[in-house]
Amino acid sequence: MHATPRTLAAATLLAVCLAWPTGAFALAASVPASPSVVVTATPLGEWALDFTLPTFGKSGCLVCHNDPNLVVPSSAGDVSFWIDEKGYDASAHGRVVCTGCHLDFGYKAPHAKGAWRPIAKQSCPNCHGAQTQDYLAGLHAARPGIDKSPDPKAASKPLCGDCHGAHDMAKLKDNPAGRAALRTTAEEMCGREGCHKDYWDNYSDYYHGAAYKTGTTDAPTCWDCHGTHTVLATKDPLAPTNPANIAATCGKGANGLLDGKNGAPSCHEGSGDEMLGYAKLIHKKSEVQAANPLLKILATVRSWFSR
């Protein structure tokens, strides 16, 4: 595609307009904009932008997306498309270019409408193959039927980014602070509405749920017992929460904390199958309390005075 003087002028004007409010104009001006930013009016009225030079890093995209005021109006309110550059730089993916995950963004502006979000969330296997294999073995991955029909629950199943977040994803490897921060996100990650809110709500026993919810760092978070990428139903014989595996799970300990490594104890060192009795209480304390006959009597007595 050849640039005409008219398109070059338009491109320069657009680049300046995009860059000016964000202060990125200096950045845009520091590279020769005219040969690298080429804008063409398409028959459909969209603009095809060739951000080749600036966007081979991140700066091209951030010309627009580094603006905290970048929103797209919708019926539900303004949706922000601001990317916090500092958070992005400090994240585990600080050195990954935008198009490393946003594979379908062919430098189009406005960006093509469609399922760009799941595409970004599914770009992880390109780098994280082992974790993806683990994920695919678990219930969180959509599973086609025997007749290869699509999983009807596919839309409700989490993709990588649903748990790990996006642009400010914490570094976990060799980063105890990042791992500790991730451990505090159980409610947002697993216990949110539409996922496992019921299990988050009933995670209230003394030394596990109640302690975790009040900020105790050595209390177990969801994945300490249920596993990380390969999440399985308790009835699955391979699930760490399956009765056959409870002793091993309780004895293993929490990731990076009471994990038996570097001289640290595990959560319940020397665990046996007897731990199953207590394990049942972890998500069922409220039920057990409700079934306690003495508490029932007390509730009845209390009701006499509350009439």
């Binding site: 026993d205 109640a210 105790t216 004895g251 104890p265 319940h268 665990s271 209480l281 306690n292 003495l294």
Partner: protein, 259 residues
């Protein structure tokens, strides 16, 4: 089991409060004991006041036990991060442990050793029914054979035994390998109780149950102790806390008459 422990001990404590602070105190009014003590000012006589050291030890013990009780409950029923509560619990545990050893030294090895005051002999046991009858209003005469009556002695001795058990069960909860690569849990219970109950972890779980239960026994015994201190011998309690000096009666020890 854990829910049962909570429910049973809370009910028991409420029952003890009702039995003593409502029923026992209430019955003291028609039987005349309340009037005698609180209106006429006739209290048990004493020919001896506690020296400063046991008072100090008692006060320090009281303070640490309150801290241990509160922090212990906040570890079991957390309302915020339990980690600082554990640290305070450990510090109070060390102080109360040293304090206990100090009291034992005072009782057995100091020049004012008073272990005989707490020893329960045949003479004491012979008065057990009489003392029980006095406190249950079946009799108005309390047998008087020593500084402390037999029920006091038994309660104080039981408290000491419970202190030792509480120390043992509490240390059994520590699972960090801090002693030659082994945890206190393993060294105290893991190696012998573990094989009997299904592993070191379960042995620790039983120790936690025992530790929590003993905590409630402390609370219940202390509730009764507070009631008796407040309503049976209030002047002695005031003296013990340094609020009002106790009037001594040289003939107090000799009397066996009605209280």
């Amino acid at each position: 089991m854990n829910v049962w422990l909570d429910v049973v001990f809370v009910c028991l404590e409420v029952l003890v409060i009702i039995v003593f602070f409502v029923v026992h105190l209430g019955v003291s009014i028609p039987t005349g004991r309340f009037k005698k003590m609180w209106i006429q000012g006739i209290w048990p006589k004493h020919d001896w006041r506690a020296p400063a050291l046991p008072k100090f030890i008692h006060f320090q013990h009281l303070l640490m036990m309150v801290i241990l009780g509160i922090t212990g409950m906040l570890i079991r029923f957390p309302v915020f991060d339990r980690t600082p509560m554990r640290i305070v619990h450990y510090v109070a545990m060390v102080i109360v442990g040293l304090n206990f050893l100090w009291r034992l030294w005072y009782a057995f090895f100091s020049k004012d050793r008073d272990w005989r005051e707490f020893a329960v002999g045949k003479k004491d046991l012979a008065t057990l029914l009489g003392v029980a009858a006095y406190y249950t209003y079946f009799s108005n005469k309390k047998p008087h054979v020593a500084k402390y009556n037999v029920m006091q002695k038994l309660a104080y001795d039981a408290f000491g035994v419970l202190m030792i058990l509480q120390g043992f069960t509490g240390l059994s909860l520590i699972m960090q390998p801090i002693i030659f690569g082994q945890s206190p849990r393993f060294l105290l219970v893991g190696w012998w109780l573990g094989p009997l109950v299904g592993g070191t972890a379960m042995a620790g779980a039983w120790m936690r149950i025992a530790h929590y239960s003993i905590t409630w026994l402390f609370i219940i015994i202390t509730t009764v102790h507070i009631y008796l201190a407040a309503f049976i011998d209030f002047p002695c309690t005031l003296d013990f806390f340094g609020l009002k000096e106790l009037k001594l009666d040289p003939n107090a020890h000799a009397h066996t008459d009605e209280h």
